[in-house]
């Protein structure tokens, strides 16, 4: 790490802000009193301790609602976007099962939407998993074609966690509303990064997370529309009837205060911050793509979160690349870095080909990244990719003019 001082950066560098973000110090400061002197249960209606806690939760609910153009009464607090997505899909399916049994979603959703959908399939619901276009965007024609008179819910994420692609949620919502279908969107990655307005965007249910927006982990929310139409849910957590009966459980007051503060800051700083993120992202992209051949950007570049960049470095395997840049925190779509030993299902759904999925790196820029860090990361990535390509038989074959798609590969070795 001798060049650390020279580069003017502190190592390791965190550039995995799609996974989680650092809690903003201003958020932490807002939360602290609620761990100590203000410790009441927000559901305690008969004493001062409870009232103060409830007041803090109400304020946070306003702050959360404001960022997405909702009202405070439409915000159901949860433990995070995974729970929100579970509640939205299962809660709607159970509530509206007499109206229909069909749900539409897409292959590039987060696992918690896909796996919830698969569970609903087992329970007898029919689920259509749409394949996005090559750039990651959903085709509105495909969506329209998939709708039937049995369709009760469409769940399409606002922005994707791996490739940052932003879906046309306003148009999707409009299509849904024309057909009387509810529209749910997982906005965990999008909230606080791009402007959202549940009314203009025709959203009926929206999942939100605090820790993706410089808030604390373990807290999130589900927006549930109250008017035109009034959305009803069957709660998936039984108990004391908190959150207007939609989600029982004592409220995580410090976490909720933190989420409120994080969302308030995001609303105030989004315009400026997104410009800064975009400039950093473009600098990273230009430096990498300008110095290396055979690099491919995954996902649409125009409809994309400002801090998001996903690149496949052909002929270099992702995990070996991560090993070489181990002073930089990023993610790879390589099978070797996943728990399932499968390459990124998101990139596969885009038809990228498994070999490019194995070679992908996701860069997630955030509030605390600097230009010096971007420069360091770009140089390091370029160096390591060049070194690994020297080692790569595929790069050599490519340079020799061999068409790798025509080679008869000896696939998985036989078991020994």
């Amino acid at each position: 790490m001798a060049n650390e001082a020279a580069a003017g950066v502190k190592l390791p560098i965190y550039m995995d802000n799609h996974a989680t973000t650092r809690t903003d110090p201003r958020v932490l400061e807002a939360m602290l009193p609620y761990f100590s002197e203000i410790y009441g249960n927000a559901a305690s209606r008969n004493h001062e301790f409870g009232w103060v806690a409830e007041q803090a939760v109400d304020t946070a609910r306003e702050q959360i609602a404001k960022l997405i153009g909702a009202t405070a009464k439409e915000i159901v607090i949860t433990s995070g976007a995974t729970e929100s997505n579970n509640l939205a899909l299962k809660g709607v399916a159970e509530m509206y099962h007499e109206k229909g049994n069909h749900i539409i979603t897409q292959l590039t959703e987060h696992k918690c939407v896909l796996d919830t959908s698969k569970r609903l399939e087992k329970l007898g619901y029919k689920v259509t998993f749409l394949t996005p276009q090559k750039d990651g965007l959903i085709s509105l024609d495909d969506l329209k074609a998939a709708m039937t008179d049995q369709t009760i819910l469409v769940s399409i994420m606002t922005a994707n966690n791996e490739i940052g692609v932003i879906q046309p949620i306003r148009e999707i919502g409009k299509l849904c509303h024309e057909k009387g279908i509810l529209f749910h969107t997982d906005a965990a990655q999008a909230a606080g990064k791009i402007p959202l307005d549940v009314i203009a965007d025709n959203v009926d249910l929206m999942s939100l997370s605090a820790h993706k927006v410089y808030g604390p982990k373990g807290v999130g929310a589900l927006y549930v529309r109250r008017r035109n139409p009034r959305v009803q849910l069957v709660s998936q957590m039984d108990g004391g009837g908190h959150e207007r009966g939609m989600r029982s459980g004592t409220l995580n007051v410090p976490g909720i205060v933190g989420m409120g503060k994080a969302f308030e800051l995001a609303g105030q700083e989004m315009a400026e911050e997104s410009k800064r993120m975009l400039a950093l992202r473009e600098s990273l992209r230009e430096q990498i793509c300008g110095q290396l051949d055979e690099v491919y950007i995954n996902g649409n570049m125009e409809h994309r979160l400002p801090g998001s960049l996903n690149i496949s470095f052909a002929y270099v395997e992702g995990e070996s690349l991560l090993m070489g840049i181990n002073d930089i925190a990023v993610s790879s779509g390589s099978a070797c870095t996943s728990a399932t030993l499968e390459p990124s299902y998101v990139l596969k759904a885009l038809g990228a080909g498994d070999e490019l999925a194995h070679s992908s790196i996701r860069f997630g820029l955030g509030r605390f990244n600097t230009q010096a860090e971007v420069d360091y990361v770009a140089n390091k990535v370029v160096d390591v990719v060049r070194r690994l390509r020297e080692l790569s038989p595929l790069y050599e074959m490519h340079k020799d003019g061999v068409d790798l798609t025509k080679v008869k590969w000896q696939a998985e070795p036989a078991a020994h």
Partner: protein, 127 residues
């Protein structure tokens, strides 16, 4: 994932990286794995026709750090061995030497396959 020091060493300083003339009668080439599986190894040996001793070995690998280390180690081990001795190298020896975790055993299997494929190519040429 934590890598053993030996894997890190081979990754950082891979031994015997390179390419030999695969048209030469003394050279055997093994190319195993597949890009869509995330692992491709090319291992080449140059065999002395008088003694059947592997006098040189080179590799190039597309794959994770453990795959790179397994093939790098394989080239070290085959050098100086006769062809028959090299065929005795087992993937389990590689697992042991590099302390590979269970999810990386396939890397060692691929390295053993690469040795066998290179020798079989050489035998075909000199059959």
């Amino acid at each position: 994932m934590a890598y053993s020091d030996k894997v890190l060493d081979h990754y950082t300083n891979p031994r015997n990286v390179g390419t030999m003339d695969k048209g030469s009668a003394e050279v055997g080439t093994g190319l195993v794995g597949a890009p869509e599986c995330g692992d491709v190894m090319k291992l080449q040996i140059r065999v002395n026709p008088e003694t059947n001793v592997i006098e040189d070995a080179k590799f190039k690998t597309f794959g994770c750090g453990s795959a790179i280390a397994s093939s790098s180690l394989a080239t070290e081990w085959v050098k100086g061995k006769t062809v028959d001795e090299a065929l005795q190298i087992k993937n389990t020896d590689i697992v042991k030497e590099l302390s590979l975790p269970p999810v990386k055993i396939h890397c060692s299997v691929l390295a053993e396959d690469a040795i066998r494929a290179a020798i079989s190519d050489w035998k075909k040429k000199n059959g």
